[in-house]
C-alpha cells in the first residue's frame, strides 16, 4: 500500500465505524457492543501491569473467585501459541479478559458478551516467558473477578 493512501483509508475506516456505532446506538440495541466499536482501547493494551489495565478500563481491582474457570496448560512448549479458555457459570458476565503478568503488555485481549452467547471463550495467546495468566470477568452488577494459573514457558513467543 502506498503511503498517501493510508490517511484516506483510515478516514474512511473511522467514518465507517462511527456510522456503525451510531446505527447500533440509534437502534438502542447492544449498547455495550456499540461502545466497543467506538475504538480500540490503546491505554488498556499498553498497560504494563494488571492494576494499570483495570485502571485504563475503569473497573475495580479484581477479586479472586472460584466462579471463574481458567483453562491453560501447566507447561507451554511454545510461548507463541498457548491455548487458553475462560468461562463462568455466573449470570450476567459481560466481559472476559485474558492477561499475562510478565508479557511486555499485560492485556492480551477481551471479549464482550451479549446475552445470546455463553460466558465461555477460547483463544490462543503469546507468552514471552513463564508467567501467571489471569482470566478476568466483569459482570452486569459490576463485580470484577479473576482466576489465575501459572504457565511455564519453555520457548518464549514475543521477542526476536
Amino acid at each position: 500500500m502506498s503511503i498517501p493512501r493510508i490517511p484516506s483509508s483510515r478516514r474512511q475506516l473511522l467514518q465507517r465505524s462511527a456510522a456503525v456505532a451510531a446505527m447500533l446506538a440509534g437502534a438502542g440495541l447492544w449498547p455495550r457492543l456499540a461502545a466497543a466499536q467506538a475504538g480500540w482501547n490503546k491505554a488498556a493494551f499498553e498497560a504494563k501491569n494488571v492494576d494499570d489495565v483495570m485502571k485504563a478500563l475503569g473497573v475495580a481491582r479484581p477479586q479472586e473467585s472460584k466462579e471463574i474457570t481458567l483453562t491453560a496448560p501447566d507447561i507451554a512448549e511454545n510461548g507463541a501459541v498457548v491455548p487458553v479458555a475462560a468461562s463462568s457459570a455466573l449470570p450476567g458476565v459481560k466481559r472476559l479478559l485474558f492477561l499475562v503478568e510478565k508479557n511486555p503488555n499485560t492485556l492480551a485481549g477481551w471479549f464482550d458478551l451479549s446475552d445470546a452467547v455463553e460466558a465461555s471463550v477460547s483463544t490462543r495467546i503469546k507468552m514471552a516467558e513463564t508467567s501467571r495468566v489471569y482470566a478476568v470477568a466483569t459482570t452486569a452488577d459490576n463485580r470484577v473477578l479473576f482466576a489465575q494459573k501459572q504457565v511455564k514457558v519453555t520457548l518464549g513467543g514475543c521477542g526476536g
Binding site: A36, P104, G109, S120, T123
Partner: protein, 103 residues
Amino acid sequence: MSEPMRIRAHGENGNAVVRVLMSHEMETGLRKDPSGKPIPAWHITEVTASLNGKPVLTAQWGTAISKNPFLQFTVKGGKAGDRIGIHWIDNHGEQRSDEAVVT
C-alpha cells in the same frame, strides 16, 4: 488481500459451538528484521461475531493474540441453518468478513 477465515459452527446440546481460524500475521512490534530494524506492529484490533446478522460478541485484541488467531465461543440456542458471521479489522484498517452456516 487476506485469506478467508475458516469458520466451523455445529449444534451441540441445543447450542451452537463456533470455532474460527483467522489468517493474520499478528506482528507484535517487538521483533526486529535481520538488519536490526524493528518490525512494526500489525494485528487485529477488533472482532465482531454475529448471529443471523445481529452482533452477539465483540472482542478487542492486542498483539499477544497468537498468529493466525483462533477463537471459540458458544451461541445459546444456536441451531442448524443459523448464519454465523465474523468480521475483523486490524490496526492498518484492513478488514475481512466471512460467514458460515450452523450444521
